[in-house]
């Protein structure tokens, strides 16, 4: 029990938030842009589609925006950043002993149900992130840092909807 407890001791949220804020500040100072995450996944999808069906990728109005002849879509800032996220999280998880193949869910639901909901949530988030041109980190967090109207709207929409629909998903979590 004691080990279990240590494993799940996280930083004080204010401390984490402070460091995250400093990081966003640093990112804007260095590169003039914010953080992001879903962009890397978009690059991944574009690369896969381009590799499997190059013609299709060029003909599709959306992929073709990101397919460039001279440069792989994977060679982008956000992909490198996402790689860094993986490394950083691995270091942090390793230091705290949180690494392991696990599936996390409420004891009330089965593992398969959890995975199904994760997949469904992922699909929704994937679509939503494209419609809104950014996810919680790209649009909401980085957008708020520069007082972007779109960022604030996206943030309010995400969390507002979250609270509204939370009731229907309560079994998954509590």
């Amino acid at each position: 029990m004691n080990i279990q407890k240590n494993k799940h001791t996280y930083w004080n949220p204010y401390f984490g938030g402070f460091l995250l804020g400093i990081l966003i500040l640093f990112t804007f100072y260095m590169t003039g842009r914010g953080l992001g995450a879903s962009g890397a996944m978009k690059s991944g999808v574009v690369t896969i589609v381009d590799a499997l069906a190059s013609n299709h990728a060029e003909n599709n109005a959306y992929y073709s925006k990101f397919v460039k002849d001279e440069k792989s879509p994977l060679n982008s800032w956000l992909v490198f950043e996402a790689l860094g996220v993986l490394i950083g999280a691995f270091i942090s998880g390793g230091l705290a002993g949180r690494i392991g193949w696990r599936t996390q869910h409420s004891p009330k639901i089965t593992k398969n149900r959890r995975l199904l909901f994760a997949l469904g949530g992922g699909i929704l988030f994937g679509i939503g992130a494209q419609v809104a041109r950014g996810c919680t980190s790209g649009a909401a967090l980085s957008g708020m840092a520069v007082l972007s109207t779109g960022g604030f709207i996206t943030m309010l929409a995400i969390f507002g909807t979250g609270f509204l629909v939370a009731y229907f998903f309560r079994k998954n979590w509590i």
């Binding site: 799940h8 469904g120 419609v131 509590i174």
Partner: protein, 196 residues
């Protein structure tokens, strides 16, 4: 002076290296704050854990105040920063879809990457889901296109849309955030046996 890379103070070639470094810190902070746990993330919607709210608002405040001070002191030119463009209905509908996805899966893309790094299987499934979602969006792009490209208001900030003084806005925002922190602590429900 700043931002450094767009102004050529640091050669452009460094961009990707800096991206990795920033990513490492980003991942480390997110993971160490507990964002690799979907149940901790979902806690904000059920009132048993407000870490998301606290981290999120603290980060927004620190970066916002920091950028304004740096802009004031001339270290950074706020005009040159990338302002997320405002596509009104795209932002709202996209946000609503993401909100449902968030509650359903308990991750957002950034945090799911952290969870993938420490071997959470649900996060791996989630990332696959996101890629499927992006695939669906791209295939049905013609359907989404009016929403994706319409209602464009430019790269506007709140000052442009409401004509408020940004310093006053930040001040009010700070007060709201602090109140939110206090209230979240007061209404937090203790639930034991929640395994993050």
């Amino acid at each position: 002076m700043g931002p450094l890379i767009p102004n050529g103070v640091i050669p452009y070639e460094w961009n990707n290296i800096i991206a990795i470094i920033i990513g490492i810190v980003f991942g480390f902070v997110l993971e160490a704050s507990g964002f690799s746990s979907s149940r901790k993330l979902a806690g904000v919607f059920y009132g048993y854990d407000f870490a998301v709210l606290k981290v999120f608002f603290t980060a927004a405040l620190v970066s916002l105040i920091g950028i304004l001070y740096m802009d004031y002191l001339g270290y950074i030119n706020m005009e040159q920063l990338y302002v997320h463009p405002t596509y009104l209905w795209g932002a709202i509908i996209g946000g609503v879809i993401m909100g449902v996805g968030f509650v359903s899966a308990g991750f957002c893309p950034g945090t799911s990457l952290c969870a993938v790094a420490i071997g959470k299987i649900d996060a791996i499934v989630y990332v696959i889901g996101i890629m499927v979602g992006i695939f669906i969006f791209s295939e049905l792009y013609t359907v989404f296109q009016p929403l994706y490209e319409g209602y464009f208001y430019g790269n506007i900030t709140l000052m442009d849309s409401f004509g408020i003084n940004r310093y006053w806005f930040v001040f009010v925002f700070t007060i709201i955030a602090i109140l939110a922190f206090v209230i979240s602590d007061l209404i937090r429900k203790r639930r034991k046996k929640i395994f993050y």
